[in-house]
């Protein structure tokens, strides 16, 4: 089993996310994380899916996704072929903010992005291993809440959805 990032470029069509996710559910495959956003191209959406499967399964999944009428193009990459990040937010009681905690924040290059009377929110961006490591450290500081995004990714290999669309015959 390997970790893969699937990048799906789609029309902005109602129901497209459902059509994609049922491909995974039907095969009993768990989606590790999923992020949907606009792409660089007007009107084209980019869906980033993180999944842990075998090399045979990833090819099968990508073909099934690519078969969806409103999907423009689907790519898949191993972790080493993408630059990716996840953002994590940590909520802590304001009274936990002591020199020890401040040191941790500096070490991780994390930021306090909200400071209220009762609580502070720390933001930290990185790979899952990093945000997870910070999570473990912050737990003893009476961590109140934690939230982590799915990955956003940019592929290293060169490809162009625009070019693909232009080559339409």
């Amino acid at each position: 089993m390997n970790r893969y990032t699937i990048l799906v470029y789609t029309e902005n069509f109602i129901g497209i996310l459902n059509r994609i996710t049922i491909i995974f559910t039907r095969r009993g495959i768990n989606i590790d994380a999923l992020t949907a956003s606009e792409s660089r191209l007007d009107g084209i959406h980019k869906i980033t899916i993180e999944v842990t499967v075998t090399p045979e399964q990833i090819i099968h999944l990508v073909k099934q996704i690519d078969k969806i009428v409103d999907v423009i193009k689907t790519y898949h990459f191993t972790d080493s072929e993408v630059v990716y990040q996840e953002i994590a937010l940590y909520k802590l009681p304001t009274e936990s903010l002591d020199p020890g905690l401040e040191k941790v924040i500096r070490q991780f290059n994390a930021h306090i992005i909200a400071a209220e009377k009762e609580f502070v929110v720390i933001e930290f961006t990185g790979h899952k291993e990093d945000t997870q490591a910070l999570l473990e450290i912050l737990k003893p500081f009476n961590l109140l809440e934690f939230s982590r995004s799915g990955r956003v990714a940019i592929a290293k290999p060169k490809f162009s959805v625009q070019e693909y669309l232009n080559n339409q015959t």
Partner: protein
Amino acid sequence: MIRGADIVVKSLIAENSEYIFGYPGGAIMPVYDALYDYSDQIKHVLTRHEQGAIHAAQGYARVSGKVGVVLVTSGPGATNLITGLADAQIDSTPLVCITGQVAAHLLGSDAFQETDVVGLSMPGTKWNIQVRKVEDIAPAIAKAFHIARTGRPGPVLVDITKNAQVEFGDFNYVPCLGVRSYRPYVTIDKKAILDAASLINEAKKPYLLFGQGVVLAKAEAELRAFLDKTGIPAACTLLGSGALPQDHPMYVGKLGMHGNYAPNLLTNQCDVLIAVGMRFDDRVTGDLKRYAKQAKVIHLELDPAEIDKNVKATVAIQGDCKDSLSQLTEAVKPSFHPEWMKRFRELENEEKKAVYANDLHGTHGGLHMGEVIRLINQFKEDDAILVTDVGQHQMIAWRYFDFKQTRTQVTSGGLGTMGFALPAALGAQLHDYNRQVICVVGDGGIQMTIQELGTIMQTKAPVKVVLLNNNYLGMVRQWQQLFFDKRYSFTELENPDFIKIAEAYSFKATKVTDRDELESAVAEMLLHKGPYFLEVVVEKEDNVFPMIATGCSVEEVRLS
């Protein structure tokens, strides 16, 4: 400006639709009201159940090669389509299904007969859409037809809210010529053609398998030209039957769980396996781990998702097999393989002795299903269409029916939907009243859609219904006998008087129980001008052989 409902009907007419198979209800009433004015331009067939409507549309689509059209209401009308959608999806049948929906402002409020049909039908459609505004109706229908019939065909659903049907809008039908995110065809890779040709040129025991892809691509002539040049033995899948006439010298028989002996067995002895427009279904391959492991595999297939899905291809030729077959025919050397072909014929004779003799020529005891099919062959026209349901009768009819032309078989292959045959036969017959449509059905399956006898009555479609009555859910009983110690758990049926039912629906009906009455009854049926219902009481506990049991390899095909 015209009403949305008129736009729906005019769009279907613009697509040259001949028939609508449907059933009315609240959320689609404006369209039904509009239909009233267009009966000179498009025919509507009122079935007795929405499942009947979609199976009829499938039958129509399969024999005509055109898109079948279905029109139903929201809620239960729409949910009754689900079996047919799944069936059409797995058997690549082009359909456009239009469902009514509650008004847009009621969506999500659990309004009367509101159901999320777009969500429900998603896994069973090639594409679907909900239309909530009048101006979106015609473009959605145009796109639906384009998607349904191009590439690998399939069912498409358009859900139209009631407000859109009653709003007024301009009508200017623009057929859809392409969708930028959807590329149904690709140019054939020349290198793949050359690679495949060199494998074929060097092969000692090449073997070709063809499926419905040949029919869908209208590549029957190209297949024949390839076989004529190469002399390669060719076998068909269930849905490929008819793509090559069975008297063609290279035709060696049928594949699969109840296919022929040689075609299954010799799959594991060929050196190059050429698969054309087929998807290596598990009913064809048996145990994949022991399937054609010795062979180099060449796969000609339009749908990239089918390539390497079940069987890894040595050379994959993606694209329409009408193109790839003709290019391949040009690239290969003429050849012939008499020794290898002889092997098929030897095993065919073994099967004839062990199986055909008894199946086709009973002398005492109950009638066999095969005897009925043999007599049908004797009296049928060359272009007669066989429509079958699902079960033992389906396998026997398929095994013994003499397929002479393409698009002469309609059956539920991938889904195995009992209840498919009767409505599908109606749809097939409506495409051409002058052709013989023979609907072979079991006593179990006919009762799943028996109400469609009423639609046949009303349309006067001269369908010939052949009920092979063994008083059992025969195929399940066969498995119980072979694999569950003869524990016949809930497979015996107490059946009604089918003749009375058929007569109540104005069919001419005959019941045959004796061997010496059968021939004249079959002859009479096939000469009869109108709908005919022939019930043949057959042996209760006959089994279908050859058989590849679940989990077995193709080479473990058994003759008894």
